[in-house]
Amino acid sequence: MAKLRSAAGLETLRADIVSRRDPGKRCIAVCAGAGCDAACSAAVVDALREEAAKKSIDVKVTGCHGLCEKGPNVVVTPGELCYFGVRPEDAPGIVAGTAKGVRMDEVPFYKHQMRLLIGDNPRIDPTRIEDYLALGGYAALSKALFQMTPDQVLDQVKKANLRGRGGGGFPAGLKWETAKNAPADERYVIVNGHEGEPGAFMDRALFTGNPHKVLEGLIIGAHAIGAHRGFIYTRHDSPKLIEHIETALAQAEAYGLLGENILGSGFDFEVEVHFDVGIFVSGESSALMRSIEGNPPEPRPKYVRTSVSGIWEKPSNLNNVETWANVSQIISRGADWYASIGTEGSKGTKLVSLSGHVVNSGVAEVPMGTPLRTIVHDIGGGVADAKPLKALHFGGPMGGSIPERLIDTPLDFDALAALGAPIGAGGLLVMDDGTDMVDMARYFLEFLTHESCGKCVPCREGLLQMLKILTSMTNGKGRNGDIARLEDLAEVTGMACLCALGKTASDPLRSMLRHFKDEYEARIPAGG
């Protein structure tokens, strides 16, 4: 393929790709997301391909469709007919069209969603850039390069009020502006695809299933900020994710969408991939940047933002996978459209990974402001085994739990933070009434004592002491003064730690002491 050297060249290529495709031709999309892949969707692909070879039907291997619980998942277009729990022996029926499928918009899991980011997954083979181009891919990049100035792009992202999806909810536009304006001869952009928290799998679903969407956002951001070098930091333990990212980079470069003189605009941008080798703290932004430099991923203690002084002390703008994936639609459809979705302070849609005691585990995407009840009951199908719901936990080991009575709270950065259960990256753990909330705090602390760097005292020692107290409480050995000890440790950890991991490490415990204190008191002998 020849490198594209103009906006018109891109549109010609797109028209050519689209013209070769017959929208009426049947296509069978098999999900190979984390859940379906582990449930042997590869065997289903083989069976379908063997069957389809006899007819003129395409079989596409795609990223995560969303409803992991019912995998392996298959969607047949046109008509978007869903087949769940597909086994190789179901292939003849699906290919012949005799097996009964359910229209996607009639599946309760899907029909309450707004799938702006993940909705393309069943239509895209992540290893083929042509699939992304056929759906309008890289048109936003072309618009940003040729019809807008970098400042106009920045202005749109600010006006859209896109807030970071990685945990803090910090406005992306303000971060971009800081990195853009910080004095330096060089600046960098980074995709944080670390996603190390247990129960969070939406970034993997999006990045593995539609890598170009993230990459397009990154290139647009780099141009707006004035960066010519970008980094993707991701997990080393997901072979498909790595393969799809590396393939996407190579294909984008081959088409002139990455590298020197992108689309003939004169803008140069290159991307390197770096890997976490298995520790949660390396997802913390300053630790991640230390790691990219080749140093141990210890958070940097300096009082200066990484957007001013990050990798090699140059301005470094880091956003997570989902944040970058939002950029292209803001550019193509406009900030006003984007800001019309969501609540006053939280715009757009949010990916949520549902897990725990829920009927439908999976990745859902809903407009900000959607009541948690809709997510858990309508989309998630309620609590498994028809047990009563006890609590919802957001944000994993740096998040918090809220009790069932708060289930009408909207999915909103500020509303949930005020309740002590910030959205975090969007991992939502559903817990039934058999869950022990003392054990849950113990669990998260045990995770973090293994996953922190161990540099600063209040994190290393504070988490360990909290873990010891909670372990003895869950073993029926609670002592007088334990709750006061926990409260002091949690407070000091929150105030004194070096990095965001440490500062929020006691948040799950604090949320549980706030909403479930009676369970803690019950573990202390009478009079405690």
Binding site: A38, A39, C68, S238, G278, P296, S353, S361, H450
Partner: protein, 150 residues
């Protein structure tokens, strides 16, 4: 044994301290652990102090300073598997193998690991042996799964 492979890896990165993590990943993939002699060679070739090499090699859980068994048994202890009973599952795997997480048996049959969520929460609780997921496990099913690996 295999030391020429390690030499080949080192030759590609000689004198580049920034390549430390990449080199360790490559050696780990090649040998499935990081022998002590290899760490000393890495320090010399990349011109990095041995103490730094040791720090990195012990910092990340992926790196192993001990040889691994023929089969790697991974019990997922992510939050979803946890609420779905991973602790009971782990206890049964430990009882069956006689191993604690991080250990390898004397016949090098199994290495036991716990840890990070692989994102297949819908299948939990699960154990993953040599990359194959065994979904919706119960303690009673452990024996049947482990028997398949010798």
């Amino acid at each position: 044994m295999c030391s020429d492979k390690i030499d080949q890896i080192l030759a590609r990165h000689r004198g580049k301290p920034g390549a430390l993590i990449r080199v360790l990943i490559e050696i780990q993939h090649e040998k499935r652990w990081l022998p002590k002699e290899a760490l000393a060679k890495v320090a010399q070739a990349l011109e990095v102090p041995l103490s730094r090499v040791t720090q990195i090699a012990t910092f990340y859980k992926t790196f192993s300073l001990k040889p691994k068994g023929r089969h790697e048994v991974h019990v997922c202890t992510g939050s979803s598997c946890h609420v779905r009973g991973a602790a009971r599952l782990l206890a049964e795997v430990q009882r069956m193998t006689g191993l604690k997480p991080g250990e390898t048996d004397s016949e090098s049959r199994f290495s036991l690991e716990t840890g990070s969520c692989l994102g297949s929460c819908s299948l939990g609780p699960e154990i993953i042996v040599d990359g194959t997921h065994h979904a919706r496990m119960t303690p009673a099913k452990v024996e049947g799964v482990l028997k398949r690996y010798s």
